[in-house]
Amino acid sequence: MAEYTLKVRRYQPESGEAAYWEEFKVDLDPSLSVLDGLLQAKDRDDGSLAVRCSCRAAICGSCGMKVNGQSGLGCKTQIGEAHEAANRRNGGSEPIVVEPMGNMPVIKDLITDMESTHWAKIRRVTPWLLPHGEPPEREYVVEPESMIDITQSMACIQCGACVSSCLSMEADPDFIGPAALAKAYRFVGDPRDAETVERLHDLAHDPHGIYDCTHCFSCIDACPKGVAPMDQIMRLRRRAAEEGIEDDPNNGANHVKAFVKMIEKKGTNDEALLIQESYAPGVKGKLKPTKGAVEGLLKSLPTVLRAIKTGKARSPSKLIPGVHPKLPGGAQDEVKAIYAHAEEHREEFNLYIKGEDEDFVEPEPDEMTDATIEAEAAAAAESEES
């Protein structure tokens, strides 16, 4: 038994008051969960403390919330660990901070409106199987691996933690979002579904669709079930590319291709060339003056200026397409070797196949540190520029 302080973001809609913080002292074993702590506060101190919960075992998906700013399930977050995390973050003996999920309107205390921000988007992806013709007399015969593959997205419990953490959704509330797109992959990856191409066209051509994800990994961090929604979005992109779906409104397919090509060739990101190649692929060194490309580049200008201002684009010379440092020594050959390996061995990081990360033996740390890589890269850049 240990004592913990939960600092809970409260909102009582009928009080006429704005949201406020309230601290609750609870007393429980460190191996119990933050949800157990909240329930103790509710049982002992204040029955009006509102939190959706049911199974207590991370299977029903009711208790999505933010603990110390991290989206997840209250029942799956051990209170002892949350306490340590709070202390690490703030130093000293800080309370565990509990808030409702992000990107969703709050109804009462930790209860949010998931209908408009989650379920409406799930319904957006036509979330039911669309097989062709009458079903067979027995079962559909399919590759065993295909079922294991989509079991990862079937493992989603619709808790909304990924939606809560999604940075793209913060910027674009219309983004279909990680949960709904993972649900979409459950059908795209299902060999029994007969509308795969239509689904991919739909999701690629929606400006808030698969190319609206910025690849930030927040949803993978937040997901309590290892669904890895971003991985499912990347699979959707790969499948869309395999189907030759290219003319999407976000120029997403071209962006992906340009990026892949550039890294194979140069090893690091040439920002200027990336913009050009994303909007006007295949033209080197000069702009192909199509209407879309010019528009796209003009639209990118504010972003470019912001990048210079914030230091993301560190050297103005990098804005000249094509002037970009190469990797030092034979490093680029190694990058190419990685590409060749990836082409030959199609590896999927699916937890139902591979198990947890910790099952893999970590490779010995390379002797080359980040600092030496940077130093060598700088030296190489100088020699190229001079």
């Binding site: 199974c55 027995r138 937890l351």
Partner: protein, 562 residues
Amino acid sequence: MPKHDVLVIGAGLAGQRAALAAAEQGVSVGILSKVHPVRSHSNAAQGGINAALNPGDSWESHAFDTIKGSDYLGDQDAVEIMAREAPEEILHMEHLGVTFHRNEEGKLGTRAFGGASAARTYYVADITGQAIMHVLYEQLMKHSDQVARYEEWFCTALALDEEGECRGVVTRNIADGSMELFEAKAVILACGGNGQVWKPTTNALICTGDGIAMAYRVGAKLMDMEMIQYHPTTLAGKGFLITEGARGEGAHLLNAKGERFMERYAPNKMELASRDVVSRAEQTEINEGRGFPDGTVALDITVVPKKRVHEALREIVLVGRDFAGVDITREPIHIKPGNHYTMGGVKTDVEGRTDVPGLYAAGETACVSVHGGNRLGANSLLDTLIFGRRSGADAAARAKRIEGSRPSREALEAEQAQIDAIAAREKGSGRRVSEIKLELGTTMDAKVAVFRDEAGIAEALETVRRLKQEAESAYIDDKGQIFNQDLLAAIELGYMLDNAECTCVAALERKESRGAQYRTDFPERNDEEWLKHIDLQLTDDGPEISYSEVTITQWEPQERTY
């Protein structure tokens, strides 16, 4: 007043299946649930669903295993229906999109499960219930023009008409606290079981026996209420479930001396004997001092190949890691028997009809009875689908057949008055709802569990009756309308106490040992006197006991060994 031909209360597997089956008949359907449908407790069914679908298997074998598992208390006509219709139902679910595990040929593959004479359990990793329920919810979204969903609506009472037929339910919209009388020609209760009456339990916080209590309060008979399953592998303290699939994949049970003790209790089936048998064996080891100091024995999953664990038992890897701090692929995990399943419930026929016209029950709320004294693993999902479908179809047929008559509005007014009375209780006027619930749970787990005797059950009954009185003055903090969970907990406490009283009365009455009811004062099964169901019906003096015959078609009771 919202109005539907068929109204389904509860949106787990049984409720969703019933709603879809009723909608197929072209009637208007409403489905109400106190939580969003995908939060329902069918999620927690991990291991799989049984069907004799393999060429070498037969429905008769499945039926016999089920009847033997029930300790011959299951009604054999109902069991036959379930076993015969299982293969078609599994195929139907596969066609709707359930991602069942495949064998190397790409066809449906099976795993072994307890009490079964063949490997006939179909599964999706160890998230079978979740996978099926999410696919059914996909279908509900697809058919939203035929099935209206009322998500987060709480039912407080059934509403009858002047003839005593069930014509609706009184509900509270949790989002804004408004009360509504829903009108229907048939009502199907699919509200799950009553595990929260015990603490600890594998059951979710929502499993408070609502449907059983609501039916009981309008005069429907309850049956087999003494039959409460303790699952052999639950985490100590927290009560979380470790799927029987683990033993199906080959995991061993060990006592503190490292002995595979099932050799002494079930030499043929070992760890895969019926759940009641395995739970009693474990409890005996623990009681006789061969368990661990924390009152447990060990489940050793390390004998299962690691690749297989990741593919088929992933949820258990997570449960072990997150809730017990144990890597099950590397070391045994401590487990003990824990409250898990309500075999009894609202007495129904094979079409789901209760004694109250217009009222149906399906799934764990109902007692058909296919599980009798002990349910086999992977038969509960099957029960929900088969009898959910049959209830939905029969309720739709009834709705087409009969004229509409209106439920009395008195029920609505009475419920509103009751709620106002709860809210009006002063703080400190009695005990807190949570305190009463805790005392109920620990009492039932101590006295009405794996081993029972007259003195213990009588003590529990006395406690339950005292708690019922205390509940009448229990106060709540929240006086609001929006998401007043405090108020709902007070109403649920009432449901739980009715369930507990019935279980105690029936357990006291059955003076023999059969299935989950093991009386240390009557350790033998006694077919001559007790091969019969105990039925309970509400009177002014509490539950009144009567008996009904067990239907036997072709399997005469035999001695039960594994």
